[in-house]
Amino acid sequence: MTGRNETVHTEGQKHAFEPKIIAFVCTWCTYAGADLAGTSRMQYPANVRVLKFPCTGRIDPVFILKAFQQGADGVLVSGCHPGDCHYIAGNFHARRRFAAFRKLLEFVGIDLGRLQFSWVSAAEGGKWVEMVTDLTERVRHMGPMQEFKELALEEQWSGVIDTPELKEVYNSI
């Protein structure tokens, strides 16, 4: 993985590759934190699209897969700090779920550098900016997310049975 601080993103500078970043955030903490970054007029790369959920507990890992499938190059999941959940404990469930999910993704061979989990409170506008900037930079270095597109291709190819051995096996099933 490329170090996150190698290039500094300067406003207005054009890049060959602009990654698409999708952020799944909870309303109460991270969404509010991103709002605070706005009211404080902090600047960050325009690559991120925010999807609001009531709670990180609502975020189904399937959405993350779906996002990658739809061409996201990086995904960010963020909510209230543990202990600060607006819904008492939704983020604890989320944390456990994502811990397992990360392992699974790793196993499947997805570079975990593309997927970031962090806690950002409503008061942490600066942290939001830092996180989005870092992830954008990192993913920009990693290049476009190919794994899913390749998988999709493979899936199509496997539908064509063109060798005699395969045909034989196919017919015996």
Binding site: D35, Y44, F63, V129
Partner: protein, 665 residues
């Protein structure tokens, strides 16, 4: 086919400066399903809302997207407007192109493209929005007030005077809080006890107030209008109904050498005690940790001397469940103590001011007890070490406060004023004494506050030295205070007889634990967070819970009382209705799909998932499925992400809606 209307707001120039709003309107106007698309200078204004309503009616719109500021700002506004035009409010969504776009990007092209995408996402989402009926829940018109200091007392009295029942819970054996400990109050120098005790008595006598002292909040369940609060009434060892408050037990108790915390450990008290003579209720409590009977099994004197037989060593903690509709949190503050703090604490200690090591270095609250007529010295300013009157006294302000390196960056707000008051009290009592004050700034905004502060210098002869103390040590029976006077640029050294530290105001210990029980948020110092710093300063983000006093941030008495009355007014506003509308963002179970695994029940933080039996027409049990109680459901959606058969769905955040947004990317 949907007929979506899209409204792009300029927000004056806040959005249009970086986002080409006309291009956004034109572009999204071409999306399938969009029937109408326009831009306007101020969508939230009266004409803006009028435009929206008119378009809904004239264009027969089925859904609405308003692209403007954050939904946290105006979602309610636009949903209301949509409703008044005859559409279900939940068919309206906001696209945030201000906080999340125009304010955070400079490049006009980038920002415009992003705005188009954001709006496009919301257009796809809103297509999947369904009509949601408003849910109404009944309101229990009783209120809980946590904390019996001046904030809690004021809130409780205001609510009770309006005719609603109040349950007041106080952790200490008596109500009164810190205000009961003060000597005189700024800026009028009236005696704190004299204005406080009548209010305490009012609370005790009020027919609508149920008072639990020596009690804590054990557990909170429910939601706005319908909380179930479990109160732990700690064992007092004295039967409150039988006790007449004669106080014989206290005079006869052989154990008399227990430091009196109410007097900041300057005086002593017995093991069976009331914290101070004016305590409400005037019922003693046995401090079991220090009582000989509880430690060794012997003694039992108080039981023998008690006429009405009120002393009960067997008494146990009681758990009482109180149904209430609203909660006022008024847990107040604590003072920062400057000793070294344990590793890992966000707040560091000073150590170097000798507090806790040099007996004549005291904090402001201890000085209050010395100055108080009902205090351990009867109102004489005397040194704790030898009982002598201090002739030179040094006050140090901002100890802990405004010291980022020590972990507290805020101003404690009250110290400038109470230090000025202390110099006056000192001057009134020790006529030949001299007071010095080390200070950074004097912050005295408030009615008659600056005049008060000036008086301490001009009439009461306090010497103010602008600068901080660098070192302080004991030399014989003197305390040498070294510091710099930055106004003059010289070093000063004062041989003081006593030093008073204006230590920082902090939230009460355990504020975080209580917040977790209540489900309210707090900042990094553990002060409770209001819903909006300017517009909703007494409400928590959690509906039905309100804040009063210093638990929300440092505050003086006038501010505390105002906030308490404001919180009470909010409670009364809530109680003015018999039924309450709540957001219909709740989970629903698709019974056909539910396999009855009840994973949802395990993860639900609100305990909203119940079991429901499905029977056929003959009454035979077919299966047991989950049922979400819409009154209890908090709307987090954890159940939905957990359900293996995808049989439970959160209205307003369905898979369909979210996938539609992702696919729009």
């Amino acid at each position: 086919m949907s007929r979506i209307g899209v409204f792009i707001c300029h927000c004056g120039e806040n959005i249009s400066r970086t986002v080409d709003v006309e291009r956004v309107a034109a572009q999204v106007g071409t999306l399938p399903g969009v029937a109408f698309s326009t831009d306007y200078k101020y969508m939230c204004s009266d004409p803006g809302q009028g435009l929206l309503k008119k378009a809904i009616q004239e264009q027969r719109l089925s859904h609405v997207v308003v692209a403007a500021c954050s939904p946290r700002m105006h979602e309610k506004t636009f949903r209301k407007a949509v409703e008044s035009a005859g559409l279900n409010p939940f068919l309206c969504e906001m696209a945030n192109i201000r906080e999340h776009c125009s304010w955070v990007h400079e490049d006009r092209e980038e920002a415009t493209r992003k705005a188009i995408e954001i709006v496009g996402m919301m257009v796809e989402r809103v297509k999947k929005n369904r009509v949601l009926p408003t849910i109404t829940v009944p309101v229990t018109k009783r209120s809980l007030v946590i904390g019996g200091g001046i904030a809690g007392i004021q809130a409780a009295l205001d609510i009770a005077d309006c005719g609603h029942e109040v349950v007041l819970v106080e952790r200490e054996p008596s109500i009164g809080g810190h205000m009961a400990q003060l000597s005189e109050t700024f800026p009028t120098l009236d005696c704190s006890q004299c204005i406080m005790t009548p209010k305490m008595v009012d609370v005790a006598n009020h027919p609508k107030i149920k008072l639990y002292t020596y009690a804590e909040i054990e557990h909170v369940e429910g939601y706005i209008g319908n909380f179930q609060v479990t109160v732990r009434k700690k064992a007092r060892s004295v039967d409150e109904d039988k006790c007449t408050g004669c106080g014989v037990c206290m005079t006869k108790c052989p154990q008399k050498k227990i430091p009196n915390t109410f007097d900041r450990n300057l005086g002593m008290r017995p093991a069976i005690y009331v914290p101070f003579p004016q305590a409400v209720p005037n019922t003693p409590v046995i401090d079991r940790e220090n009582c000989t009977k509880f430690k060794t099994g012997k003694c039992g004197v108080c039981q023998k001397v008690c006429g009405p037989g009120a002393v009960d060593y067997e008494q146990e903690d009681q758990l009482i469940v109180e149904p209430v509709g609203a909660i006022v949190v008024a847990t107040g503050f604590d003072l920062y103590s400057i000793e070294e703090k344990p590793k890992g604490s966000p707040i560091k200690g000073y150590g170097e001011f000798g507090h806790g090591k040099i007996p004549d270095v005291i904090d402001g609250m201890t000085f209050e007890r010395l100055a108080s007529a009902s205090g351990p010295t009867g109102g004489k300013i005397l040194r704790p070490s030898d009982g002598r009157e201090p002739k030179q006294i040094v006050f140090i302000q901002c100890v802990g406060s405004r010291a980022r390196e020590k972990g507290i960056s805020y101003c404690s707000k009250i110290c400038c004023m109470y230090t000025a008051k202390h110099t006056m009290l000192y001057h009134h009592k020790v006529h030949d004494g001299q007071a010095y004050v080390f200070f950074m700034d004097a912050r005295t905004p408030g009615k008659s506050y600056d005049e008060f502060w000036r008086r301490s210098i001009e009439e009461e002869e306090a010497v103010y030295i602008r600068g901080m103390v660098s070192r302080l040590y004991q030399k014989g029976d003197k305390i040498v205070v070294m510091g710099s006077d930055i106004a003059v640029g010289v070093q000063v050294e004062i041989e003081a007889d006593m030093v008073v530290l204006a230590t920082a105001v902090q939230p009460q210990k355990g504020a975080d634990t209580l917040a977790q029980k209540l489900g309210i948020s707090y900042d990094k110092y553990h002060f409770y967070s209001e819903a909006h710093a300017k517009l909703r300063p007494v409400e928590c983000a959690t509906a039905g819970i309100y804040l009063a006093g210093a638990c929300q941030g440092p505050k003086d008495i006038p501010d505390t009382v105002s906030q308490a009355s404001a919180a009470a007014a909010k409670v009364m506003t809530l109680f003015a209705k018999d039924k309450l509308e709540r957001e219909p963002i709740v989970a629903k179970v698709r019974e056909a799909g539910c396999v009855g695994c009840f994973y949802c029940q395990k993860v639900c933080p609100y305990g909203a998932v119940e079991e429901k039996e499905i029977r056929d027409r003959q009454g035979n049990l077919v299966k047991v499925v989950a049922y979400v109680n819409p009154g209890v459901c908090g709307g987090c959606g954890t159940c939905q992400a957990t359900c293996p058969s995808k049989s439970v769905e959160l209205d307003g955040y369905t898979d369909e809606q979210i996938v539609a947004m992702i696919e729009a990317l």
